[in-house]
Amino acid sequence: MKADPKGVLSGVHFIDGDHAACEGALAAGCRFVAGYPITPSTEIVERFAARIPKVGGVFIQMEDELAASIAIQGGVWAGHKVMNVTSGPGLSLMMEHLGYAAMTETPCVWVDVQRGGPSTGLPTLPAQADMMQIKWGSHGDYEIIALSPNSPQECFDLMIKAFNLSEEYRCPVFLMMDEVVGHMTERVNIPPADQIEITDRKWTTKKPGEYKAYATTSEDLVPEMVKAGDGYRIHVTGLTHDERGYPAMDVPNQAKLIPRLLNKIRNNTEQLLDVRMDGCDDADVIVMSFGITSRVATAAIEAARAKGLKVGNLRLIICWPFPVKLIQQLAEKVKAFVVPELNMGQMVLEVRKAVEGKVKVISVPHPGGTVHEPETILEQIIEAAR
């Protein structure tokens, strides 16, 4: 289906990534946000609070991040598309509700405008150090999807994609921004509503009585959904549950439910592949990056190419699920991977895991607070090509 024109501010804008992300959510059909202020993400909810009265919907500022991250899920079960906006310390508080959304298969978008950590860290300065937290931070086994924009335009575009994926897979989908992307002002082109594709919720066509809230088939691991108030009398619980949604705390039900929650995403890793590749076919060295670091990496790659080195540029748009197969294929052809990121070495672990020691994997860590110097990355590219 096409986007609801009410939420689409078509035209060319000069706005920052936070504002663009908000416009992306409105274009995607988000009409309910429960927020809690935290730097550097606050502008997203501020814009939402200002825009929503005329678009038609609700914004409420909750008392804390715990409340915000579960109130949005109440909104989902009332039928809304919702977004949860925060940064590191808030994200840490929200971890239990990440697990709740994964367990109850509540479609929702989580925006993390990353700042330096741990703890209060660097509130106004960038990092990319929450990449493992979103993957592993809630207890138990679960899967999420994460996208990483590197410009305000992508904050808009990928926000819509994040909403669409959350509906398709019924899982939390992260938009992993960072302080620089969030506060960087650039040209953002918002297309007309009829050019924006929106994925509708996977509403059931079954009647009450025939419908089972968590019934799936072997071909389709994503259950159909209903909302409260439609006569289905659903039960939703964070406990291990059976097809009816009833608590069923035993080994067979756990053995059925948890693999399904993981496999509905893991089995679709190929469909969820979203990368930008440039010059990777005949490269000796591939630089893998994501988000704001990809812009610095590109400068370093160009400098290396100017020196005659064959360097490929691989940028992850979807970071989770990680494109293991692609990395493995590339590892057959290249001498080394160079992985710059605004953390002390997180996604590089995935690269190492994928290549299984076949080629060199060089981490270019950074404790955050600013971006890399291109020269730092360039040095490692030269080292890798040796």
């Binding site: 429960a34 009265p53 005329k54 609700v58 109130a71 909104g75 659903i234 039960h235 406990l239 608590p247």
Partner: protein, 299 residues
């Protein structure tokens, strides 16, 4: 002729089922609550209140947190949500604002609502969020084995207060009153008719409504403090309760096995959060704003 009479009698007998059964997910009964636990009694009263309220049950949703009372959502044949520990109220807030047509009831325990979830209670009451909160207060953490709760009176032993509790407890109606609730009452599971009536009354009212239900925990609280079985606690409720409608909530704190003031303490009108939002935006934005969650007349 006699055959058809038998048929009629058989038909009549099938209708003679417990009047609360249609409100329950019968395939989940018997429930997990211990013999003599009062939560089931409160649920029983709630079912009667639903009957008497005349509400469309497809538009009633129930939200629980974690704990013994937190299991209530799972037994009621309504749209029901068993959320995380302490967060039933914010979930209910999202559900209500997401679809204002729903009558949203939070049904949870004292630890869930007032320890881990305390902050949410205060703010939902302050905002006058349009939800009914029913707190079954058994003065302890039942599900985890009888630890001290924010409602435990001074004196009794709990597993984490092995020498007796020395912390001051909350006076729940006083908190609800101070935070701005539109309806506040306290009953015990001895007062089944009054409780069912209060629940019906609260279901029909707008704004943040609060009912405290005192209920025995025979397995942990009573046994550890040599208070007998569940029924012995209910007998204590019977003997020590005084009905004082309109009592000043600051005067009705609970001591260990002391006097219990029950009744309806607060019943007032305040605009709900959504009413305030709609009024405010209509005033400021005029025609640019369409009130949210309000059905156009005639629908």
């Amino acid at each position: 002729m006699s055959e058809s009479l038998d048929l009629r009698l058989a038909l009549a007998e099938t209708e003679l089922e417990n009047p609360v059964l249609p409100y329950l997910r019968q395939d989940r009964i018997p429930h997990i609550w211990c013999p003599g636990c009062g939560i089931g009694t409160s649920v029983n009263c709630f079912c009667r209140a639903l009957t008497d309220s005349g509400l469309d049950l497809n538009k009633v949703a129930i939200v629980s947190g974690i704990g013994c009372t937190g299991r209530t959502a799972g037994y009621l044949n309504l749209d029901s949500f068993h959320t995380t520990h302490g967060r039933a109220i914010p979930f209910a807030t999202g559900l209500k604002l997401g679809n204002p047509e729903l009558n949203v009831v939070v049904y949870s325990g004292d630890g869930d609502l007032f320890a881990i979830g305390g902050n949410h209670f205060f703010h939902a009451a302050r905002r006058n969020m349009d939800i009914l909160v029913i707190c079954v207060n058994n003065f302890t953490y039942g599900m985890t084995g009888g630890q001290v709760a924010p409602t435990t009176p001074v004196g009794p032993t709990q597993t984490t207060m092995p020498l007796g509790n020395f912390e001051s407890p909350f006076n729940l109606p006083f908190i609800a009153d101070a935070c701005g609730a539109t309806y506040v009452s306290r009953w015990t599971v001895y007062h089944v008719r009054q409780l069912a009536k209060a629940m019906k009354e609260a279901l029909g009212k707008k704004g943040f409504r609060f009912i405290e239900v005192m209920s025995p925990c025979p397995t942990l609280y009573s046994r550890r403090n040599r208070l007998g079985d569940g029924v012995d606690q209910v007998k204590y409720y019977k003997e020590s309760s005084v009905i004082k409608n309109g009592a000043d909530t600051k005067d009705i704190g609970l001591g260990f096995q002391g006097e219990i003031v029950v009744g309806k303490f607060v019943d007032r009108e305040r605009p709900t959060w959504l009413e305030s939002m709609n009024d405010h935006f209509s005033h400021v934005l005029g025609d640019q704003f369409t009130p949210y969650g309000v059905k156009p007349e005639g629908e």
